[in-house]
Amino acid sequence: MIASVAAPLLRFDGVRIETSGRAGSEARTLLEGLSFDVAAGEFVAVVGESGSGKTLAARSILNLLPAGVRQTAGRIELQGRDLSQLSAPEMRQVRGAQIGMVFQEPMVSLNPAMTLERQLAEGMQLHRNLPSDEIRRQSIAMLERVRISNPLRCLKSYPHEFSGGMRQRIMLASVLLLKPKLLIADEPTTALDTLSQREVLELMVELAHDNGAAVLLITHDLGLVARYTERAIVLEKGRLMESGFTDEILANPQNPYTQRLVASLPRGRADLVPPPDSAPTLLQVRQACIEYPGRPGIWRAGVPTQVVHGVSLDVRAGEIVAVVGASGSGKSTLGRAVLGLKPLAAGTISFDGIELAAMTAAQRKQFRRDAQLVFQDPYSSLDPRRRVRDIVGATLRHVDDLDAAERRARVQSILEEVGLSSFGDRFPHQMSGGQRQRVAIARAVVSRPRLVVADEPVSALDVTIQQQVLTLLQTLQAQYGFACLFITHDLAVVRQIATRVVVMSGGIVVEEGPVASVFAAPAHKYTRELLEATPSLEVAVLPRC
C-alpha cells in the first residue's frame, strides 16, 4: 500500500489547538505544529499517553472540539480541501458520509433512549435518500457482517440490552454503513476485555479493507499499534515526537520519549526467583464457593447467583501468585473473600493454618494487620475528605503496641519509600492517578502485613506510570518479603511480576502452574486464546537494540 502520488486522503499541516481564554484563565496551547499525512486505505496510529492531545487531534478533524477549545492555526485537508474553513452545512456533509468516527465508552456511545434501528438508519436517511425498506435491508446485512446474532430482534431493542463488545460492533456497523473514506477510531477497545477487544479490532480491519477506507487509530496501547497499524505517530504533551513505519519505531525508537514508552512495556524477567520450597504455606483456599444475594421480591427471598464455585489455591510466604481471567471470572470476588470481606457459601479459607470463619476476636484483629488489600481505581479507593497522612495511617490505629509518635514516624518512612515524602497533608484530588496508587500501596504495606492482595493495581494507569508502580511494588515485596496475590487481566504484567499463575474463567480455575511453563505450553484452550489475544506480548519479544 504505497502512498498514492495524488493529494493524500488526510493531511495535517502545522495544526495548533488552544483553550480560548475564558473566565480569566489565559489561553493554553494543547497541541502544537502537528503535521502528518494519511493515504487512502492506509492504517495509521496516533499514540500517546493521557494528556498528550491525541484525542483532540482526532476530534479537530470533524471540528467536534469541546466547548472552549479552538483550532487556532494550521490546515486539515481532506483530499486537498481544508476542513477547518468549511461552513457548518458543508462540514455536516463531510461528517458521517466521508469521515466516520467510533468512540471509547461502549456504555454511552449509543443513545440509550432510541431503538438501534433508528440510530442505524439516522445517518443513511441524512446522507442517502434511500427508501426505508432499502435502509432496513442494508442495516440487517451490515449487522450480520459484524456477527450480531438475530439482527431483526437487535433492530427493535435498545443499546442497554447488549454487552460492551457487541455495542462497539453495532457502532462500527452504523458508521461503516455510510462507507466513509476515513474511519477515526478513538480508543475503540480500551474499555473492553482482551478477548472482545481482539474481535472488535479484527472486524474493524476487515470492514475497512472491504470498503478501502483508511483508519486513524487513536490509542495508548503499543500492542495494538504493533499488530494493526502500518504507520504510527507518537505524541507527548501536545508535541509530535516521532512518526514513521510502526515496526521501525517499535524496533529502534529514535526519540527518547518513544524509547521510554517502548521500554515501559511489561517484559518477562528472568531474575524472578520462586520462594524456597521450605517456605510455609501462608494461605490455603479449599473448594471456596461465593454467592451474591439476588434482589428480594416482596415475599420470596432473592435467587442468589453463584460467582465462584470450588476454587482451591495455596500461597506460600513471600511468593507472588497471579490470578488471571476476563472481567466477570470471579477473580476480584475471590480476592476479597481471601481477606474475609466476602462471606463464603461453601469451602474454607485459612491463614497461618487458622480458618477465617473460626477466628477469635484477637486472631481476627491480628489477621487485619497481617492481610491488606490494594484496590484498582485510585479515585474510588481513597477517602476524598481525608489527608494522605490519615489514609496511610488508618491500619496503624488498630495496632496497640505503637504510640502516636511511632505511628507518625512509621507513616513518614513508608511515604518516603513510595517517593511521596512531602505529600503528607495533601488531599487525594490534589494528586495524579499514579501518585494516588502509591498512597494505596503505602497504606497496604505500612502495617508490615504478611499477605497483600493487589486487585488490578495498575490497569487504570498509563503505560509509563504502570511500569513505575509495578517496580515499586516489586521492590517493597522484596524488602518486606510479604506474599502477594496479584489479580489482573493483563498477561504481560503477570510475566513481569509473578512466579506462579492461576487462570480463572466463569468462576472456576481452568489452569494453574509456574508462569514460564504455563506461558510456554498452555494446556487449557481458554489460556491459549488469552495468550494470543494479548498483543503487547509480541512487541516485548522483539529484539532490543
Binding site: 455536516r92 461528517r95 416482596i298
Partner: protein, 314 residues
Amino acid sequence: MLGYICKRLLLTLPTLLLVAVAVFLIIRLIPGDPAVVLLGEGADAASIAGVRADLGLDRPLPVQFFSWFGHALRGDLGRSIVSGEPVGASILQHFGITAAVVLVAVTFATLIAAAAGLIAAWRRNTAIDLAVVGAATVVLAVPSFWLGLVLLLLFGLKLGWLPFVGYVPFSESAGQAVLFLVLPVVTLTITESGVLTRMMRASSIDVLQLDYVTHARAKGLSERAVLVRHVFPNAFAPTLTLVGLTLGHLLGGIAVIETVFTLPGLGRLMVDSVLARDYPVVQGCLLFTAVVYVVVNLLVDLCYPIFDPRVTAR
C-alpha cells in the same frame, strides 16, 4: 405491566393505612369541639352532648375509626358535620378546581422548563444561560402568595382585566370560569417553572457531555436534530420524576394560592374544615390527597420508560 401496577398499589396500602390513622388521631387532638362550633356561643352542655351523640363522636375511638375507614374503602367518606353534604362529592367538586389549575400550570411550567433548561445548557456560560439561571433563581426566591397578591393587585384591582372574586363554576359560564383561573395558573406556573428549569439545565449539561451526543454530531446531524432527538429525551427523564413529585403534592391542594384568589379548591376546603373541626371532611381530604399522591407517582413511573427504556417496569 398489570402485575407491576398491582404490586405497586399493594405496597402503598400500609402507607395509606398509616396516613388514615395519623389523620384520624391528629384532627381529634386539636382543641375545640365540632359540636360547639355547630351550636355557636349559646350552646349549653345538654345540647352539646346531644350533637356529639348525633355525630357519633361519643363512641370509642377505635369503633369510630374502623366504621369510617371501612366505609372509606367502599368509597363512602361519610357526611360533613358543617354542611351535611356527602364528603366524597364535595371533595371531587373542589378537587376539580384544584386539578384544573395544577394540571395546566404544571404542564406549562414543564414546557417552559424543558425549553429554557435545554437552551441554557446548550449555550452554557453565555448571556442566555446567565439570564435563564438568574430568572430561575429569582423565581425560586419569590413567595408564591406574594406573587399572587401582586398579580391580583395589578391585573385584578388596578387594571381590572381579570375578575378575581366570587368564583363562577364552569357550569355557570365556561368563559368566566376560565378567566378566573388565569391568574392562579400564571402564579403557579411561574413558581413551579423555577425549580424545574434548574433541574432540566443540570441534567442537560450532563447529557451534552456524553459520547452519543458527539456521535450524533459525527453522523452529520444538525445541532437542532441532535438537541431534540438525542439530548432532550435523556435529559427530560430525571425532570419528569420531579414533575411527578410536584404534581403529587400540588394536587393535594394549593391552599395558599387558593386563599389569595378565593378559589374553592381542595386546599381551601382542607384549611376551612380543619379550622371548623369538620372531622369527616378533613379525614376524607387527606386520605384522598394521599391516594392522589400515590397514583400520580405511579403514573409518572409508568411513563418513565418512554424517556428512559433502561428502566423497564420490572
